[in-house]
């Protein structure tokens, strides 16, 4: 092989690997990304049942029900709209009524959101950033959420 051929072999392999990874990334992006929606988005966008989405907002005070065994129900609200959620399994340690939550799953035909994961991600303010943005958008953001941290997280929703 001449130096030129070797260089071509090298560049060819490099481009091949690059093309392979681009193809993998594009196909994976099409199939596996999940959009975040506030309850208002869910209602306004008429999201089809079965589409995988994330819904975020506050756990509505007084809506948390533990039915038989491990099935739980609660409503996610952004102050404007509410989405009923059912979830089977453990809720994260930080799950509380009146606090921010992000659930991932799909809508059922009857409008209930069946979650297969409820996220425990949070920063020190116990408020997922997406949820904070969604609340701000709906005009229900209260500065209190920031101050809760100032009071050592002792502010209660009820």
């Amino acid at each position: 092989m001449t130096r030129r051929q070797r260089r071509f072999a090298l560049i060819g392999t490099g481009l091949g690997v690059l093309a392979l990874s681009v193809a993998l990334v594009l196909s994976a992006l099409r199939e596996s990304i999940v959009f975040f929606n506030s309850p208002t988005d869910v209602v306004e966008k008429h999201i089809a049942p079965g589409t995988r989405i994330r819904v975020g907002g506050l756990v509505k005070s007084g809506s948390f029900v533990r039915t038989d065994k491990l099935l739980i129900r609660f409503n996610i609200t952004d102050g404007n709209q509410e989405i009923p959620v059912v979830y089977e399994g453990f809720v994260p340690d930080l799950f509380r009524e009146g606090q921010g939550v992000v659930a991932e799953g799909a809508l059922e035909p009857n409008g209930t959101f069946r979650a297969d994961s409820v996220l425990a991600k949070h920063d020190e303010r116990y408020m997922p950033r997406e949820v904070a943005d969604a609340l701000k958008k709906q005009g229900h953001w209260v500065d209190d959420y920031d101050k809760q941290a100032g009071a050592g997280g002792s502010a209660k929703s009820q």
Binding site: L20, S21, L24, L70, E88, H122, E124, G152
Partner: protein, 660 residues
């Protein structure tokens, strides 16, 4: 008073860093060796002052000085001493101080242990290191001063986030920072070499120990972080493709590629342009990681509440160093000429193959991590890219890489003999094939992917052993001769074999855990028994006890296998009064390399509790493999070649000429 000493020491470190940033570079212009030598003194002094600052902050935490804002926000007088100590870096300000402590530590190490480096290179490296240090001291002093006082000090602190009250906080962040801040040295070496225009095989030899050291710490840091997440979050998972995890994985992938390409540069004087680029990119990825974690753009267990100024500041640092580094590279790199001809099938070729796939895998992680941020900035749409994306991209790219791993070390330099190598790997092929058949038979059909992955893991492990056997003529020569050869074998050859073996071990653990792991969630009443994977768990009721700063509710389970008692497991929930938070403490029982894992959920008034039981076969191999990899790195680092007898560097003029 102590906080002021710390603050003042940090300001002095900044002043020294500014001197060290400029003076050596100017002095090298005038070839004034005395003034150039200043950089060594300032580098050590800088480390000294940052250590004073860090020690002051530790003192503030240990004595619970709540007049200091960060101590008030992250500590509590009732906390055990170890957590008072670790909460120093369990918050934004303190962790940035740890960051610069390690940055200055590496600078001081170059000054002290870099005796074999040419003076010009050494002082330029120290100068570049100081640019980074100066910007981060400024960042801390302007936006994140850990020593700020509170005007009206409260009597009690607000406690450390309970999730962080764990031994993991003592281990994971310092190791991880030693790793990814350690790559700053390779960046400084690359920039210094570009400034000087003098890049040769000797450069690769000098930079390799630093790369290896950083890589070892990063490997262990990531593994320990993964184990911490596994036992503390109660979800039984060990990797979540969380953006912050990815932020540490990207420098690891790039750093691993760098380790391999530096070998080619050192031995064959080839791949220079690429190696320098990787050195710049690796640290750039570390900086991106710092930005992602510290700017608050992500929601994550790692993110602390932040103000926007910090994000902007780090972004400016990031753009300056990454942009500046790459611009300098673009300007200088065309002057470097490649040397060392080689055929595509050769050790060099194998190492290039490794680099291609590692960087491609790194790029997919990069896209998956940053695409959501980019999309949100551009269109406002919020998306999440989770495990399915990474499994579909990262996985396929790692398969060819893993297949190639055993071939690489057996290839000859310049021109390899692929059929010959394949023949020497016949033992590894046989073991892999046997593993595939056995797995397939036991699993009774199903996906071919799992037996294939198990076979691949055995291929990588046996391949690593084959490499050693070949080098020592094991089985072919008398044992005594093999023994002599084994003793004569370089440490770096042993290191390679161990690191590759560790990779196979980790893969084996991953496949077993993901495929044969079992899980069950249930509500149990006292005296009720649950069964999973041949183990019986009998619930014996709840007990309550008081910890130093929490109350703990434990559920006690008796564990039996085939009727025989094997132990007790008590998963618990801890409630921390100060933050009104509770954490779940999983109970783990180790059985060989496998583990049983219990995590406690809510309790009902009738004494029944929700419980999650996992059986994790061979799960410990995942982290054990990483430890073996790190051990391989340590062996390689102790190689004599890396310490003494480095070849004399080529003269500047000739280095820029074609090497043929």
């Amino acid at each position: 008073m102590i906080a002021e000493i710390g603050h003042f020491a940090l300001v002095l470190a900044l002043a020294l860093a500014l001197i060290q940033s400029i003076v050596p570079i100017v002095a090298t212009r005038y070839r004034d060796t005395v003034v150039m030598g200043v950089a060594e003194t300032t580098a050590v002094a800088q480390f000294g002052f940052v250590t004073i600052a860090f020690a002051s902050l530790i003192t503030c935490y240990v004595v619970s000085d709540f007049t200091v804002a960060t101590v008030f926000e992250n500590s509590h007088s009732a906390m055990p001493l170890i957590y008072k100590f670790t909460s120093v870096w369990g918050n934004h300000e303190g962790s940035m101080l740890l960051w610069v402590l390690i940055l200055s530590l590496f600078g001081a190490f170059v000054a002290i242990f870099g005796a074999n480096l040419p003076l010009t290179l050494k002082v330029n490296v120290l100068a570049v290191q100081s640019w980074i240090a100066a910007t981060f001291y400024l960042f801390i002093l302007i936006t994140s001063n850990p020593f700020a006082r509170i005007a009206e000090p409260p009597f009690e602190g607000r406690d450390l986030n309970p999730i962080l009250q764990d031994l993991g906080l003592a281990i994971h962040p310092p190791l991880l920072y030693l790793g990814y801040v350690g790559f700053s040295i390779t960046f400084s070496f690359a920039i210094a070499a570009l400034i000087e225009g003098k890049i040769d095989a000797a450069w690769a030899r000098w930079v390799r120990p630093w790369t290896l050291a950083a890589w070892m710490f990063l490997t262990l840091g990531i593994a320990m972080g993964s184990y911490w997440a596994y036992y503390t979050l109660g979800w039984g998972g060990w990797w979540f493709w969380d953006p912050v995890e990815n932020a540490s994985l990207m420098p690891w992938l790039a750093g691993t590629a760098l380790l391999h390409s530096a070998v080619v540069m050192e031995k064959r004087n080839a791949l220079k342009v690429w190696t320098i680029l990787l050195a710049i990119l690796t640290f750039s990825l570390s900086l991106i990681g710092t930005f992602l974690v510290r700017s608050g753009v992500l929601t994550s267990v790692h993110a602390f509440a932040t103000d926007p100024l910090r994000g902007v500041f780090i972004l400016v640092i990031l753009i300056a160093f990454v942009g500046g580094g790459l611009a300098l590279y673009a300007w200088r790199a065309p002057m470097l000429k490649q040397g060392g001809l080689f055929a595509p099938i050769s050790r060099e070729g194998a190492l290039i193959f490794n680099n291609l796939f590692l960087t491609a895998a790194c790029a997919t992680v990069f896209v998956g991590t940053l695409y959501p941020l980019a999309l949100e900035t551009l269109t406002g749409a919020k998306i999440s890219v989770g495990a399915p994306f990474f499994n579909a991209t990262f996985g396929p790219l790692f398969v060819p890489l893993l297949i190639a791993v055993p071939f690489g070390p057996l290839m000859a330099w310049k021109r390899g003999d692929l059929p010959g190598v394949a023949q020497r790997l016949s033992g590894a092929f046989a073991v892999a094939a046997a593993a595939i058949v056995v797995t397939f038979a036991i699993a009774g059909g199903g996906s071919i992917l799992v037996p294939f992955a198990i076979g691949l893991a055995f291929f990588v492990m046996v391949g690593a052993v084959t490499d050693l056997a070949e080098r020592t003529s094991l089985f072919r020569a008398p044992v005594a001769l093999s023994w002599i050869r084994a003793r004569g074998l370089s440490r770096s050859a042993w290191g390679t074999a161990f690191a590759h073996f560790g990779l196979g071990v980790t893969l084996l653990g991953i496949v077993f855990e993901t495929h044969w792991g079992a899980e069950q969630i249930a509500m149990v009443k006292p005296a009720q028994t649950l069964s999973l994977s041949g183990y019986d768990f009998t619930f014996r009721g709840l007990t309550q006890r008081d910890g130093p700063n929490y109350r703990e509710l434990s559920a006690n389970f008796v564990v039996r296998k085939d009727g025989a008692l094997i132990g007790m497991m008590s998963p618990s929930k801890r409630s921390f009064a100060t933050r009104e938070m509770s954490t779940s403490e999983a109970a783990l029982m180790t059985r060989g390399f496998s583990q049983l894992y219990l995590s406690l959920g809510d309790q009902k008034p009738d004494e029944s509790v929700a419980i999650r039981i996992y059986y994790k076969p061979l799960v410990l191999l995942i982290w054990l493999g990483a430890v073996v990899m790190m051990f391989g790195g340590a062996l390689s680092l102790s190689d004599r070649r890396l310490r003494i007898g480095a070849p004399r560097p080529a003269r500047s003029k000739t280095a820029l000429q074609p090497a043929e």
